[in-house]
Point group: C2
Chain length 384, copies 2
Amino acid sequence: MAVCAEFTIDGWLAALYFLHSFMALIWTVQLGQRSYPIRIGRGVLSDIGRKEDFRWEGSRALIVSDSNVAPLYAQTVQQTLDHCGCRTRTAILPAGETSKSAENLFGLYREALAAGLDRKGWVLALGGGVVGDLAGFLAGTWLRGVPFLQIPTSLLAMVDSSVGGKTGVNLPEGKNLVGVFNQPEGVFADLACLDTLPDRERRCGLAEIVKTAAIADESLFRMLETSVESLGNSRSGIWEDLVLRCCQIKAEVVAADERELDRRAILNFGHTLGHALEAVVGYGQLLHGEAISLGMVFAARLSQRILGFQKEEVDRLRDLLFRLGLPVQVPAVAWTTVQNAMRLDKKVESGSPRFVLLSRLGEAERGHLIPDAVLAEVWHACGK
Amino acid sequence: MAVCAEFTIDGWLAALYFLHSFMALIWTVQLGQRSYPIRIGRGVLSDIGRKEDFRWEGSRALIVSDSNVAPLYAQTVQQTLDHCGCRTRTAILPAGETSKSAENLFGLYREALAAGLDRKGWVLALGGGVVGDLAGFLAGTWLRGVPFLQIPTSLLAMVDSSVGGKTGVNLPEGKNLVGVFNQPEGVFADLACLDTLPDRERRCGLAEIVKTAAIADESLFRMLETSVESLGNSRSGIWEDLVLRCCQIKAEVVAADERELDRRAILNFGHTLGHALEAVVGYGQLLHGEAISLGMVFAARLSQRILGFQKEEVDRLRDLLFRLGLPVQVPAVAWTTVQNAMRLDKKVESGSPRFVLLSRLGEAERGHLIPDAVLAEVWHACGK
């Protein structure tokens, strides 16, 4: 009887999985031997343990999460892995950018040891960009590399940081100064996680979506302009399309230039100033998406000066960010402080920061060196 | 006149380089896009700045060395780079295995920052295995990866650790628990560095040469048996052949299996017990090569029990190590302590350490799981 009942439950589960596979979108990032699937949809968290995807049986996994996300979703992930014979341990970081520190990294190494993670053990990054970056670095460096999954729960992580294989750790002197390129075995973006995402975090994710549209897809930009209302509702049908489109664009750019030797740098639109502002104002005070919003307004004005990017398009970008509730006016910080922070950015070559500029909405150029006087002038214009 | 004189000096230098290129051996490690040359010979340190090999002009380099090696050789390396327009900074670690720590790694990150190392900046590992492992990890993770050179000055580093791309950092809980696979752009093995190498260090290098012979090349093993006297003289002609042969064997094994999924594991002959002994007795008390010597005697006896490896060959291995001045009798440490340390080794899968065994001299098999009772029995036999 017991066997029969088990069979029935398994049968039902299989049928549910089968139905579910029609509801979730699957997209493959093409990177040769390191290609990996992205699953996007409501409820995909419960798909992680699907036996046909990965070899869980008899393995161990360290779930890395943070104090906001773990209480909401860690149990679901633990259960799906328990179900297929994988022993899990969960490490919980304090929420926020300040957690991306060397101290927390070494705490995670101790957790990996406590979890008994051997070379076939898994790291699962369940959370936003901070968790993904730190857990991805952990997976890339523990025993010289163990497999890992990105399970982004914030909008920003779904549309940007979980795809592309960048990982990083902050030093007191600057963001992401330490890191490796490390591709995950898969990405699971569960749109139901957006229901519990604070508004400010949602807006930060929207900043990266605007960035993606601005550098690569004008039709996506127009779609955002006409959908500002729907973007306030986490259950809107628009998210599946938005997340998929952003992942596709990022995957295309990354596939062409995985190690950011060339074209991939366009993904840094708004980031040269953005990273510096985060460092100067203080991680956590100004969130990443907010800093990028300011960086994009700055870079758009630079584009106007240097590349003849239209004034109307600068305004369209600024207006969209403003309507999405993102900051567009730079804070009252001394320019020299910001400038010094920019010189520490890892994209700097031979002491001078470089900028991604727009030639028009949907088209970006990388690697622009800009005279200090122009930078200072545009900075002051952005404060008004 | 000045121009003419400069031309003449450059002309002489070019002629010297030309002659020199006949004196140094060059061997290429074949790893597709990541192939790199190894130069072996007396005086190759001064070749590093040869403009045709790498782009030094206008770049910056951080030379990582230790307190024994830097006073002897750092200036030569600095000068050859100065000569071709590369600005260098030298970071000096205390000599010894205890330097391979997280604290020193983060010290090196600060040095990289102080050196102004951007993405095109170089890391140069000038020293033994500890310097190579730590500097290689630094290069692999600074700004998500910058180019680096291995400049091994110890015999052990020349014949083993500088080739193959393994890097690592020790945690208090175990050796090399943190690391990345990171191939250098080139290896420069200057045999003149052997003149200043302490005897104990030379013997440690010989242990890895014996290992290489035992797992892959019986003729090399015989050559060692008949050359014990010459191996006491750093200026003997034998070193060029020995270093080249070891690099070739290692390069072949690594090319077949870069990430140690399979065959590469045979390079760990003697290392399962060896690493555990280092941890238990204390890094620095028992040097790596000494621990590997003990590990090889242990593994040879296991091979005799499990694979029918001949008793005479166990004796040949033990005798050679003994004649080379290496320890062959395990220290008075409780077996349970050693056993627990082995379980922490990163080669462990699902809680049980695996051993590389010999079927005969020159032929190894990886991945042997051995019953605890046999391990304990052989351990006690190795103490007599």
